[in-house]
């Protein structure tokens, strides 16, 4: 699977996320509270809502529409109405750039 240059490390505040679109798909890139970067599918599994407008608290991201919550490290759905886990993608940081494998 190809590695894609998604953004610069300082494009994302700590404990926050941004939206990244590539190849007709949408992703969410996170700057975790542990300083590491993570990537998941960009939309909530409950409904087609972009997670980039949601709130990141610790290692959780919440959908801005219905408050479905996910652990963005594993994609695990943690709060209803989200029942289906979020897809996650490998991430690496090289020369202050965040790359995701899609």
């Amino acid at each position: 699977m190809p590695w894609i240059d998604a953004c610069a490390t300082d494009d994302i505040d700590a404990e926050d996320l941004i939206r990244f679109d590539h190849g007709g798909a949408t992703y969410a890139i996170y700057h975790g509270v542990d300083g590491k970067f993570y990537a998941t599918a960009g939309k909530c599994t409950h409904e087609d809502v972009h997670l980039c407008d949601g709130l990141v608290m610790d290692f959780m991201v919440e959908c801005p529409k219905h408050n479905g919550q996910f652990d963005y490290r594993t994609g695990e759905a943690k709060r209803l109405p989200a029942c289906v886990n979020l897809r996650t993608f490998p991430v690496k940081v090289e020369a202050d750039r965040v790359w995701i494998e899609v």
Binding site: D16, L55, M57, P64, K65, H66, R79, C83
Partner: protein
Amino acid sequence: MGNRDYDLFGPDAKRAVESGLTAAEWYHSDVPRKVMKELMARSDGPAMRDTVILYGAMIVLAGLGIALWPTWWSAPFWLAYGVLYGSASDSRWHECSHGTAFRTPWMNDAVYQIASFMIMRNSATWRWSHARHHSETYFVGRDPEIAIMRPTEMAKLIVNFFGILDVLKFIPNLVQNALTGPSAAERTFVPQAEWPKVQRVAQVHLAIYLATGALALAMGSILPLMVIGLPRLYGAWHHVMTGLLQHGGLADNVVDHRLNSRTVYMNPISRFIYWNMNYHVEHHMFPMVPYHALPRLHEIIKHDLPAPNRSIAEGFAEMWPAIKRQLAHQDYFLKRDLPATAKPYREDFQLYVPGMMPAPAAE
């Protein structure tokens, strides 16, 4: 569009899906990400304070009501207790179902379960019903929480100020849920994995009501029911009054909350009971902003919203004639003027939905 069919299995429900209305993106006012993060930030403090005040007041008022029972001197205390039980529980149920009232999840869940019981809603069913209400606000046939259907049955609207229709609908539903789980209509929006939970919650609620009824029979007095159950009737008027203002007389089948929701300035007591849901356009546009941050959100985006009504009375004065007009003209709705600083209404979708009339000339 003409006559509306609010049946969740009806032709309007089907049309809303086929036309793409249910998949359309809602309009949002612009708020910088940094500001929105601050607004969405959670804390336990405001909701803990309000919950202590609410439950503390309920205990004191019910205690005085019981102490003065059965004299008429107890009536004012029951009336006040009833509003906290039968109306404040609506807003606590609502805000905690969003999971935004408290930062701590178990506190949200605890208040949500208590409020669901008091407002006579199955906590497992209504979480999903309300999610649909936010995804598809006032989409005919899709939104299960449309309070004012067109044409409005005025007598029912007025009777329900005392919760009578809600309770008459709730009791058979409670029994059915307790015996067989969710109804066919409920199964359209509650995922199958949650159906056993719907049944368990109904069984717990039913058991409490049966125990309360049995105690009343044993005592030969309705006093136990004055504390549990009946306040949902005699104290419902405030949540019905504020609830009707949320969307009454406004547009349906649109994807701009400025067209289908209403913000009303209210007195501090009503805002405590209603937990700031008078900022209803703001709440629908950004449902993850906690109730205590809605006044701040309002200040930030009010340049993009129609002017709020300045009081409950003014809200009714605007809404009531519109509801009456919808008796004869179902496609009529109030379209409030936007300030010069606002972006135009997003009403293109109305024209796109097959079978819908173009937006009528409105006042």
